[in-house]
């Protein structure tokens, strides 16, 4: 059966994401890991991924930003697997304790993704490599990652990667349906994040203003 484009409803692929940000020094990471091991589901998932941010620059409308991501130490099985992600602007809700934004994900497979992206008119703004661990607690996802930037774009050997800072970025997020109540989910997320204090303080960062 052919896939008929255009007939899918938006809520089938568009989700809302509630997210909180925090950072922790590397020397204190062990305390956070021990706390997460106690309150989260058993086991954590290590990851090492490479993300690139592309933007479609237009003169009349604001730039559209797309993020591409793939596994960093990829083998032949995963080398052509990419993830497209569009992140919308945060909802302007001052009462909401978490950042709420629309997200759209798409998994694609291509051996020449860069040519395709270039043909689409997208131009790379920046790229970075993230490495860390992920925990889950039900639907809540806790990602702890160290960000490395490339000194020269396109070169990913160890000499060309340098850490952005000595801290680890911690993100706690939950993905809900587009039509669900984001305030309730955000409050539950904030309540969950209080279990991690005082090791780390998760907060709603207005990164658009910064």
């Amino acid at each position: 059966m052919l896939f008929r484009f255009g007939e899918r409803k938006r809520d089938e692929f568009q989700k809302m994401e509630c997210i909180l940000f925090g950072s922790i020094m590397e020397k204190n990471l062990i305390h956070l890991e021990n706390r997460l091991a106690g309150i989260c589901d058993p086991g954590c998932t290590p990851f090492h991924e490479h993300e690139m941010s592309f933007s479609l620059k237009t003169s009349s409308t604001p730039d559209v930003t797309l993020r591409l991501r793939r596994k960093f130490n990829f083998d032949s099985a995963t080398s052509d697997k990419w993830r497209f992600r569009y992140i919308g602007r945060p909802e302007p809700d001052q009462d909401c304790p978490a950042v709420v934004r629309k997200v759209i994900h798409s998994v694609s497979q291509s051996k020449n993704m860069m040519e395709f992206v270039k043909a689409m008119g997208l131009r790379m703004d920046f790229e970075y490599v993230v490495k860390g661990k992920m925990w889950t607690c039900g639907a809540v996802k806790i990602v702890m990652s160290s960000v490395q930037k490339t000194k020269q774009p396109g070169r990913y050997d160890a000499d060309n990667l340098e850490k952005l800072s000595a801290s680890y970025l911690v993100e706690i997020s939950v993905t809900i349906e587009d039509t669900d109540d984001h305030l309730k989910a955000s409050k539950q997320l904030k309540l969950f994040s209080t279990q991690l204090s005082p090791i780390i303080e998760m907060e709603k960062v207005d990164y658009m203003a910064k």
Binding site: E49, R69, K71, K81, S106, V107, S108
Partner: protein, 661 residues
């Protein structure tokens, strides 16, 4: 003439070469020094003696230009006033005086020019430097003179720090400082112990009581989730490991039984736990959740029997007795009740939504129709919260399977991360991670996604399969017992909660080399039993024991026929026909075999009815049926039981040997 200039005190020497410091070194120098007018070659200094008062006045007077002040024709005394008086005005005189003063203030520059001050300072500096050089030369030659700096505060502090560092680096200082620190720490600990003892009380019993409390609390932490909430300690009876773990329904409070309370209980210290738990009221009972299969005989009492009053005894809770129970047992019982209630709630919710089966719920009992007249019964029973053990009821296998399946579902991760961690968590299987790139349609995704298996559906299937397996085994055992020839051997080659496969073999003892053996399978699933031959024939027996028996008989008859034909061939008989699909007059399968000996004198006709001994008929061979008489066409029936031989094969072997020629 030498005059005292800066003199150095504070250093005393006993002679050349020896010097020692006495006190703080000081450098005293007068603020005002006589100016040196000349220094001779032998080092003697000639000082300029400062002027006295008269001389100073004289020097100043000589500097005044009197002629410009008074004029050439002016007189010496009050000249201006005298002149003004001659003029006759006082104001003019005053003005004249002021003017004179102004003029006297305007000094004329000295003859040396504007740089005379600079020259003067340079000369003075040169003189100071030469004095300094002379001092240094004298200091170098004399041993008893030591130069001391006029140290400023910063230099003093640095020196003091250096001295302090030297002292601190010494071992003696370190040891003494460590000893001091340890003594201080020991004092603090002693104070703390004294305070703690005061709080604990000087009573040994109360101290032991607290020690036991903490040791029991440590033991409890190894088995249960315990946390402190403010001033109270609470525990968690929950058993879930995924998702949010703290469930308010399973929270219990932990307290300490004081020494007075223990004395008041009348029990010894060793009999009673110091740690006391208070479980929620609705969990303060013993529970059992049993599964059984009952046959519906049409009466309601067999399905929902009347409950006696004793079965409601759990409602009369004796809190004191409950609190007196050891916490190890009370927590286990309370958690067991929590698990049973959770399972029953899940079963109840699914029973309400059942579509293909009937379900009835009444007072803690759920009845679900299985098949035919059989019902699957779940019963949640409560018993008083005592130390007494409760009787086990229901089917042990099904009861245990229900419990294990529920806990297995709780231990399985409901959502999982996808191939990249920032993708949303999903409940789909891993094979569907690339459903986009592989262009799966919605139907494909639906077909490949793991279906949620309800607990009740699973239990009905497992129970149905369990019943059918028991029936199959009973039938096979019965067949083995009652029908020894051919011999039936069976074993289970695959057994799962929903499917089982038995391998059955029929063989004739001592004739395996001739007749071989016949193998077939009996497959049991949740709904039916099926016999599968090696040729691929499937005989569905549904859930009927009689049909399974008939199928076994059919296989036995088939094997008998094959065995007999093989034996006949060994003795050079000819098989005229062998019909496995023959039926008797009632339509029941009855394989037949028609043989003739090698000299074509005798024919043997054998029928193999199901579940009975073979029927053997013999007659002379008729070449042409049209020419034979009725007497010749008649078969002679042989009594199988009187045929020589113990086994079927032996009997027919003997018969064929007899009729060979």
């Amino acid at each position: 003439m030498a005059a005292p200039s800066g003199s150095t005190v504070g250093s005393n020497s006993d002679g050349p070469g020896t010097s020692y410091d006495r006190g703080v070194p000081l450098n005293l120098a007068s603020y005002h020094e006589w100016e040196i007018s000349e220094i001779g070659y032998d080092g003697t200094e000639k000082f300029k003696i400062p002027h006295g008062y008269q001389e100073h006045i004289g020097a100043l007077a000589r500097k005044i230009d009197w002629m410009s002040l008074i004029g050439e024709e002016a007189r010496h005394d009050n000249l201006v006033i005298h002149n003004e008086k001659e003029k006759g005005t006082e104001t003019a005189a005053v003005d004249a005086i002021e003017e004179t003063k102004k003029k006297s203030d305007e000094r004329t520059p000295p003859e040396a020019g504007p740089w005379h001050v600079v020259a003067k300072h340079l000369h003075a500096s040169l003189q100071e430097l030469t004095v300094l050089l002379d001092d240094l030369a004298i200091l170098r030659t004399t041993d008893y003179l030591k130069p001391m700096r006029v140290a400023d505060r910063l230099q003093d502090a640095n020196m003091a720090n250096e001295v302090t560092a030297m002292v601190q680096n010494s071992k003696a200082f370190q040891w003494s400082s460590k000893r001091k620190a340890l003594n201080e720490a020991a004092n603090v600990f002693e104070t703390a112990i004294k305070t703690r003892n005061n709080q604990l009380g000087s009573d040994d019993a109360s101290r032991r009581n607290k020690d036991r409390f903490f040791s029991e609390l440590r033991r409890m932490r190894e088995l249960w989730r315990v946390r402190k909430n403010g001033e109270s300690i609470i525990g968690d009876l929950g058993y879930k490991i995924f998702g949010i773990k703290s469930d308010p329904r399973g929270v219990f409070h932990i307290t300490r039984r004081s020494a007075d309370q223990m004395k008041a209980s009348g029990k010894g210290e060793e009999e009673l736990n110091v740690l006391q738990v208070s479980v929620p009221g609705d969990l303060m009972r013993q529970s059992t959740l049993t599964v059984s299969i009952v046959k519906d005989d049409g009466s309601i009492t067999s399905v929902f029997p009347e409950k006696a009053d004793s079965e409601y005894a759990y409602m009369e809770m004796d809190k004191a007795a409950c609190d007196g129970m050891p916490w190890e047992k009370s927590l286990k019982r309370a958690q067991e009740t929590l698990i049973c209630k959770d399972i029953f709630n899940i079963l109840f919710q699914e029973a309400v939504q059942l579509r293909r089966r009937l379900a009835v719920v009444k007072e803690g009992v759920i009845m679900v129709s299985l098949y035919d007249d059989y019902l699957l019964r779940f019963e949640l029973k409560f018993h008083p919260f005592t130390m007494d053990s409760i009787p086990t009821e229901g089917d042990p296998f099904l009861t245990r399977f229900l419990r294990e399946y529920h806990l297995a579902m709780e231990c399985s991760r409901p959502v999982r991360p996808q191939m990249l961690i920032d993708l949303p968590l999903t409940h789909l299987p891993e094979a569907l991670d690339y459903r986009g790139p592989l262009a799966y349609s919605a139907q494909d995704i639906e077909a490949r996604s793991a279906k949620a298996k309800g607990l009740l559906n699973r239990m009905t299937k497992v129970s149905g399969h369990y019943v059918l397996v028991k029936r199959t085994i009973a039938v096979l055992k019965s067949h083995q017992l009652h029908y020894g020839d051919p011999t039936l051997r069976w074993r289970c080659i695959r057994c799962s909660p929903l499917h089982s496969l038995f391998l059955c073999e029929l063989n004739n003892r001592n004739y395996e080399h001739i007749a071989g053996k016949l193998s077939f399978y009996v497959q049991v699933d949740a709904e039916s039993v099926e016999v599968q031959t090696k040729e691929g024939t499937e005989i569905s027996c549904r859930r009927d024991e009689h049909e399974l028996r008939q199928a076994l008989h059919l296989m036995s008859a088939t094997h008998e026929m094959i065995s007999v034909s093989q034996i006949a061939k060994q003795i050079s008989y000819q098989v005229l026909h062998a019909n496995m699909n023959a039926m008797d007059e009632n339509g029941v399968p009855c394989p037949t075999l028609y043989l003739v000996n090698n000299v074509s004198t005798r024919t043997v006709y054998i029928k193999f009815p199901l579940g009975e001994v073979p029927q053997t008929y013999v007659r002379n061979f008729i070449a042409d049926e049209r020419m034979a008489t009725e007497e010749e066409k008649k078969f002679t029936s042989l009594n199988f039981s009187r045929m020589p031989g113990r086994s079927l094969c032996k009997k027919f072997d003997t018969l064929f040997s007899l009729l060979k020629n």
